[in-house]
Symmetry: C2
Subunit: 367 residues, 2 copies
């Protein structure tokens, strides 16, 4: 029997009193609940969202997503978008349709992807990254010809790292040189604190698939993600999706299409970025104050601070933390060999809870 | 590359002018759109339905589903319910978690299940059924010890057949005798025209999983199905579900839980049964009038009339039908060896369209 993921086990175990730095839960106060309720009322009044639908996804929603790419100067047709039941399903579809020969990815590796790759027997090769950057020499030595790379260039999970412009250029060159396709997972792309960077695939000449999600922008309870790619690359993924769930919730799709028609998602994201930057600063300050031994790099966006407590076994620490009413995810869960490494989410807990949570963490660590 | 299913290709090809007897689309006028809109407004006003959620599903929804079993005299705990992204995903989860050794099923075989079994390399053994009944001797000879059977006892797809009480008893005995588990797919269970029959698994002593869905009762656009089973049987399915889509739409789940709290689903289904019985009668009358050569048995519920045009190749006929603006699914798609067999849906087209559709069909057939 396969093991359940540590993060999901933590999510199942937390009580209302637990302060959670685990998971990647958005701040519920950031959900545009009123606007989504207005959209739900509109689409249901129009009789939309209730019938079976096409596997590739709602035409209007795909058109609106394509428009958002075009607004960034990236020509995109609605037929080049496949709607998925969250980004997690997109990783599943890619794995089944394209990755049976294997995948190259960062280490530490995003747990949601690692679990899918392993479950569907996708051979995994990793190259090293830290919270301070990519090991491009390691990438170059591992990037054998053909196949695919799965990368998270914007606010990588768990390290929080964002590829620099120079790294984007060099990574794209390496992939192109060896004819490797790129699967770019941009779940956190909209959550930059200061300025966005161009998507990695725009530097590439070769095959690519771009994974996006409304989970971190709007609300993850509506399970709506998407894949942008050529019709040829999407076709086998659509065939797999038809088999595994027919199509993504028509209602969720209709609500988001209507939301995009009546609201300014960019303005909403701007508010969200401001909110999350503030929360990140509270966590960073709390760590410096109550747990000064914790080594980390201040992230430029995303949802996580990643760092390390030298000389501590984070897997043991998290068990003591659960008893103290605070949780996080040890880096070991992502394949990090640094036993002291840990991932702390800053988007879910409010300022006061964040300060208390870090104090509990320090107490559990005996520091 | 895997082939897309014929039904989904038809759904993609139909225009607003096409009269469709293909697919299994519910009548949109039967959707309780106002009640669902009221539920959507309530749950969003309460801040529900937007956050990440547990993989097994919304506690309140699972509790309400469990209650519906208990109301039928079947003791059920909320922990014995797993919420899935439609019944299609339930078949995927069962296939991956339990069916790697193989599955025994009816022939003709439900296409949605056949496609999943084949895609995930589940060896399939079938026993014969017709629109007039099961071949129990064939079942007995195929039911080797151990493993699982996947059966649709209530208004089988495509044959529309409902197992008799005597067949339920005998099938349960055969499965118990050889220690075979039962996966009972009850997608159409609520759509009986006169009286319900006890679920097949209630006759069984051994292992069983029961698959249910709100798609045919409420609306398929909300992708919400469920599996009822022991904690031990659900555990590996939950682990797979976590990998493939984390969890089913929180919003869809919250809306249905709220709907069940504020409305009488049984009363809604009674209205639906009355509506569908009327539509079935229109299709049956139209067939007798315009296509008297078509041999069929009047169904006792469900969504389909299954029958055969002797001496006709239904796969060729459907191509001519598409040009005439009417579509159906040839029985060959479900593995039926009778070339003239065809499945006609009666829930989607209204009375006038049904009559016109059958006349178009007769014209395309040259009859």
């Amino acid at each position: 029997m396969i093991k359940r993921s540590f993060i999901r086990e933590i999510l199942d175990a937390i009580t209302p009193e637990t302060i959670s730095f685990a998971g990647g839960l958005p701040d519920p106060e950031g959900f545009p609940a009123q606007a989504l309720a207005a959209s739900a009322a509109r689409v249901l009044a129009q009789g939309k969202g209730l019938q079976y639908a096409r596997t590739q996804g709602d035409r209007e929603l795909r058109e609106r997503i394509a428009e958002r790419y075009r607004a960034k100067g990236i020509p995109t047709d609605a037929d080049e978008i496949l709607i998925t039941t969250g980004s997690q399903q997109a990783i599943t579809l890619v794995s089944l349709a394209h990755l049976q020969e294997g995948v190259l990815s960062e280490s530490p590796l995003y747990l949601g992807a690692k679990n899918v790759f392993e479950y569907f027997n996708v051979p995994i090769t990793t190259f090293a990254m830290t919270r301070d950057g990519l090991d491009l020499e390691d990438l170059r030595s591992k990037a054998h010809s053909g196949g695919w790379a799965y990368l998270i260039p914007d606010f990588h999970n768990p390290t929080g790292y964002r590829y620099t412009m120079k790294e984007r250029e060099e990574v794209a060159d390496i992939l192109d040189e060896c004819g490797k396709g790129l699967i770019e997972d941009s779940a956190y792309e909209a959550l930059y604190f200061d300025a966005p960077m161009p998507l990695l695939f725009t530097f590439l000449s070769g095959r690519h698939l771009h994974l996006g999600s409304f989970s971190k922008q709007l609300a993850p309870g509506l399970r709506v993600g998407w894949v942008r790619g050529s019709r040829e690359l999407l076709a086998p993924m659509i065939a797999v999706k038809e088999r595994i769930d027919l199509h993504t919730s028509s209602l969720d799709q209709a609500i988001i299409a209507d939301y995009l028609a009546h609201n300014d998602l960019n303005a909403h994201n701007e508010t969200l970025r401001h909110r999350y930057k503030g929360r990140m600063e509270v966590l960073a300050e709390s760590l410096k104050t109550y747990l000064p031994q914790f080594e980390f790099r201040t992230p430029e966006g995303g949802m996580f601070i990643y760092g390390s407590l030298p000389g501590v076994d984070a897997s043991e620490l998290v068990k003591r933390c659960m008893a103290q009413g605070v949780v996080f995810v040890p880096g070991k869960e992502f394949g990090d060999t640094d036993a002291g490494s840990m991932r702390l989410n800053f988007t879910h807990a409010d300022a006061e809870s964040t300060r208390i949570g870090v104090q509990r963490l320090a107490k559990a660590a005996g520091l």
